[in-house]
Symmetry: C2
Subunit: 363 residues, 2 copies
C-alpha cells in the first residue's frame, strides 16, 4: 500500500488489499463524484493500480478522468489491463446497487482468478451466479460493507491520553475521507503517533481496516463506532473519518451515531466551496457553515462537548486566487483555521490538532 | 385486536396478529421495563391474551407482574395455558438475543402448532433448529424486526393537509409508544381521522403494521421513515411512535433518522418522572428536559422546523399528589401542556395537537 503525498503510513490491520495489481471498474462513471471510490484509490493507492476499466473512455488516463492517478491507463477490457489480480468496484452509487451491465466483466475477472472487492450495499458474494463462479475458481469476493456489528456502546470512559478528532461535513462527498487521511499522514510525518480510522468502504480499502458504519444496523451504529475507538486508542491521536452530516435529510442518523459513538475532543468541518445545495437534491439548499458548526457542538454536548477546531475547504471548483479568498473569508467568518488540505496543504489544520492536544495535556 | 381504554381503533394493515389466543413468554423477566413488550400487549391487546408464561412467577396474575392485564394468569408451562395459537416473545432485552433456556419452550409451542412472533434482533426464523421444526409443523415464525428497507428518503414535499406529530423522549422506555397509541386513539374518539404509526416491534404487534426502524440498515433509516409517512399521509393526523432520543449515547442515530425522516409539525416530549439517569447506564445522568426540547427543535430546523407542543409524563413511580405536583412544575418550567396520558388522561395533549392542526389550517 502506498500513501501518496507523504511517506507516512496509516493503520494496517486485516488488510483488504496489500501489494496488489488492481483494476478499478468505473464503467460509464468516470468523474470524481460518482467515482469517489476510484478517485480516492487513485490518490492513495496509486502504485497498486494498473488500469481503470471504462469502455466509454478507453484511451484516456486516470488524470484525464479524475484529476489524480497520472498516466494510469483507462482500458476497455480486462484483456487490455495487463497482469492484474484484483478488480475493485470504483463507484458508490446511491442505494449501492451494481448495474446489471457489469455482470459479464465481473464473471470474466473471476474466470481470470482475480479477487473481487466491492463496497456496494448489494453484496456481490450473495449473488448466486457470482458466488458460484468464485467458489469454482477459488477466488475471494470481498464485500467491504459486510459486517456483523451487534454491540451497544458501553459509554464507559475512553483513554483520555488519546486525542480523538472527527471530520464532519456540510454535505456528503465533500472530502471528509481525504481530509482524514491527509491529517493522519501529516501528523505521522511530524512524528506523531496518529491513526486514520476508516468508517466507510473506500476508507477501509485504503486503511486496510475499519467499519462501514452506514451498513450497520441502526441500533448498533454508536456501538460499532465505540468499538473502532477502543481498537485505536493506543495511538496518541486518531482521526476518525466522518460520514455525511447530522443536517443531511437522508443520512443524518448515521452521522449522529458516529458523533456520539466516538465522542471527539475536536472536529474538523469539511465543505466544498461553491456547492449550492445538497448533492443530488437540488430542492434542498445547504445550511450555512455556522449552523452546521453550532448543531454539531450542541449535539456533542450530550457527550464530552467537543468543539470544531478547524475547517477543511474542498476548493476543486475554484481557481487558485478564488480558493485563497475563500480561505480568508472562512477564517474571518468562523474564526477558525482553514485550508484546502490538498491545495494549501494540511499544515494549519495539523497545527490546530496539535494545539488541542497540547491544551488537553496542560489541563 | 382490542385497544383498551377507548373503543377507537388504530390503523390496520398487514395484520401481525388478529383475533388470536396468545401466550406471552416473559420467563424470568416479569417486570414492566424488561418486559416492555409484554406490558404493552397486555395493555392494548388484553382480550387476545390467554396467559403469561413465566415459571418463576406461576400463580400470579398479569396485574401482579405488570400492573395491567387484570386476571390474565401467569403459568409455568404451555400445558397450563389452555387453548392457544400464538406464542409472543414478551421481552426486548438490550442487544435483542433470545436466552438459550427458552429453546425448549419455543420448540414445544411449534410442536403444538402455535405461531411464533418475536421482536428480537436475533431472528428466530434464521435459527436452523427452530426453522426446521416450524417448516415440518407448517407453523409461521414471524420476526417483526425483519425488514428489507433499502430506499433513501426522496425529501420531496409531503402532504401538508396531514398533520405529523412525533413522540420524542428524554430516554428509552419512558412511554413513547403508549403515549402515541393513547393520542391516536383519543383523537379517533374525538372524531378525528388519526393514525398511530408504529416504528418499533411492540408498536407493530399492536398496530398490525409499521417499520422496525432500529433494525433498518443505518443508511436507510431516514428513507424507511419517509416511506411510512407516505403510506399514512392520507389521514388527517398521524402520531408517529418515537424511538430512544437524539441525546442518547447508544441510540441517538436511530432517533435523528426518525426525526428527519418524518419531519414532524409538532412533537410531544415523553419522560419518566423520578428517573435519575439513562436506563441501565447509571454513570450517565439524564439531560434536563429543556435541553432535550432545545436539541430536538434545533435539529428539526434542518427540515420543516417542528416544535415541541406538549409533555407526556410517565408518573408510574409517583403517588397521585406527587404526579399532580410534577405536572404543575413541568407546565410552568417548560410553558407547555403536560399530563400523564394514563393517569390524567390524554385530553390536554389532544387539545394541543388539535390546536396545532387548527393553527396550520388558518395559515
Amino acid at each position: 500500500m502506498s500513501v501518496v503525498r507523504s511517506n507516512a503510513t496509516v493503520q494496517h490491520r486485516e488488510p483488504v488489499s496489500v501489494a496488489r495489481r488492481i483494476v478499478v471498474l468505473t464503467e460509464g462513471h468516470g468523474e470524481p463524484v460518482a467515482g469517489k471510490t476510484a478517485s480516492c484509490l487513485l490518490r492513495y493507492r496509486t502504485g497498486d493500480i494498473v488500469a481503470i476499466l471504462d469502455s466509454t473512455r478507453a484511451g484516456a488516463t486516470a488524470a484525464d478522468l479524475f484529476g489524480v492517478g497520472g498516466a494510469i491507463p483507462v482500458v476497455s477490457s480486462l484483456d487490455d489491463a495487463g497482469a492484474a489480480d484484483e478488480l475493485v468496484i470504483g463507484i458508490a452509487p446511491p442505494g449501492g446497487r451494481v448495474p446489471a451491465s457489469w455482470r459479464p466483466v465481473l464473471l470474466e475477472a473471476i474466470r481470470r482468478g482475480m479477487r473481487i472487492v466491492s463496497g456496494l450495499h448489494d453484496f456481490l458474494g450473495d449473488d448466486p451466479e457470482l458466488a458460484a463462479a468464485a467458489l469454482e475458481r477459488g477466488v475471494e469476493i470481498r464485500d467491504v460493507r459486510k459486517n456483523t456489528e451487534r454491540d451497544l456502546a458501553s459509554c464507559q470512559p475512553l483513554r483520555e491520553e488519546c486525542l480523538r478528532v472527527l471530520t464532519i461535513g456540510q454535505d456528503i462527498s465533500v472530502g471528509k475521507m481525504v481530509t482524514s487521511v491527509e491529517l493522519a499522514a501529516g501528523l505521522v510525518a511530524r512524528g506523531v503517533d496518529a491513526a486514520f480510522v476508516a468508517t466507510g468502504q473506500t476508507g477501509i480499502m485504503i486503511a486496510g481496516s475499519g467499519c462501514p458504519i452506514d451498513r450497520v444496523i441502526s441500533d448498533f451504529v454508536n456501538g460499532a463506532v465505540e468499538k473502532l475507538v477502543l481498537a485505536n486508542q493506543h495511538h496518541d491521536v486518531m482521526i476518525v473519518e466522518g460520514q455525511a452530516t447530522i443536517s443531511h435529510p437522508q443520512y443524518s442518523g448515521v452521522s449522529l451515531g458516529l458523533l456520539h459513538g466516538c465522542d471527539p475532543h475536536g472536529m474538523i468541518l469539511v465543505y466544498e466551496a461553491g456547492r449550492p445545495h445538497h448533492l443530488g437534491l437540488p430542492h434542498l439548499p445547504l445550511p450555512a457553515l455556522e449552523r452546521v458548526v453550532e448543531a454539531y457542538e450542541r449535539m456533542a454536548d450530550f457527550r464530552g462537548g467537543g468543539r470544531v477546531i478547524g475547517v477543511a475547504i474542498n476548493s476543486r471548483r475554484l481557481h487558485a486566487d478564488e480558493a485563497d479568498a475563500e480561505r480568508d473569508r472562512v477564517r474571518r467568518s468562523l474564526g477558525l483555521p482553514a485550508a484546502d488540505p490538498i491545495r494549501h496543504g494540511p499544515g494549519d489544520l495539523l497545527d490546530a490538532v496539535q494545539a488541542l492536544a497540547a491544551r488537553r495535556r496542560r489541563t
